[in-house]
């Protein structure tokens, strides 16, 4: 059973920067896993932020960016705003229309 692991929680100050990571139990995450990232606020459906490692949707704020970092997928939030407080999930592709979500990171803005 493939497991995709994220930090359980991170705290960041308003205006600060925080990086979330997404690690695969199968080994290093590469662009071939087509990493994507989602934001979910309480009571809402997830919302897509990043796809194909670092590509943004038309609605994605510029302060969100995706990358590969040290064998993991990464999501960096710069100039963090209070409204960025949410749960963040990564999603990795394992072939044959098979995806696995990460365990999720709760970002607190404090």
């Amino acid at each position: 059973q493939t497991v995709v692991t994220q930090e359980p929680s991170l705290t960041v100050s308003p205006g600060g920067t925080v990086t979330l990571t997404c690690a695969s139990s199968t080994g290093a995450v590469t662009s071939g896993y087509y990493p994507s990232w989602f934001q979910q606020k309480p009571g809402q459906a997830p919302s897509a932020l990043i796809y194909d490692t670092d590509r943004k949707h038309s609605w994605t704020p510029a302060r969100f960016s995706g990358s590969l970092l040290g064998g993991n997928a990464a999501l960096t939030l710069s100039d963090v705003q209070p409204e960025d407080e949410a749960e963040y999930y990564c999603l990795l592709y394992y072939g044959g229309a098979s995806y696995v979500f990460g365990t999720g990171t709760k970002v607190t803005v404090l």
Binding site: A48, Y51, L91, A97, Y99, F101
Partner: protein, 117 residues
């Protein structure tokens, strides 16, 4: 703007069958996926289906537990259980995929399924 409209809350008994739906304004030959969310396990990928040929692919965890189907003529995808268990309780989302590169750009609001033990 593409929207995915999901059916409402369902409260069922163990052993009962259930089908929930997801109607899109236009599937446009993109895949439709189903995702489960439970408090203890976060988001779980269940499977996908392509509207044009009704080809369904399942996550190993859900293979044999649910059936995904689609009616492309009415732009509606379905998630079906033949015999519900208490462990099927959760919030089920449908989502659209231009897989593999751009998964889940559009999401339904979710259908809550409650199966009391």
């Amino acid at each position: 703007e593409v929207q995915l409209l999901q059916s409402g809350v369902e409260v069922k008994k163990p052993g009962e069958s259930l089908t929930i739906s997801c109607r899109g304004s236009a599937f446009r030959s993109l895949w439709i996926g189903w995702v489960r969310q439970t408090p203890g396990k976060g988001l779980e990928w269940m499977g996908v289906i392509h509207p044009d040929d009704s080809e369904a692919r399942y996550s190993p965890s859900f293979q044999g537990q649910v059936t995904i189907s689609v009616d492309k003529f009415i732009n509606t995808a379905y998630l079906q259980w033949s015999s519900l268990k208490a462990s099927d309780t959760g919030l089920y989302y449908c989502t659209r995929l231009d897989f593999p590169v751009q998964p889940c750009d559009v999401w339904g609001k979710g259908t809550t399924v409650i199966v009391p033990s």
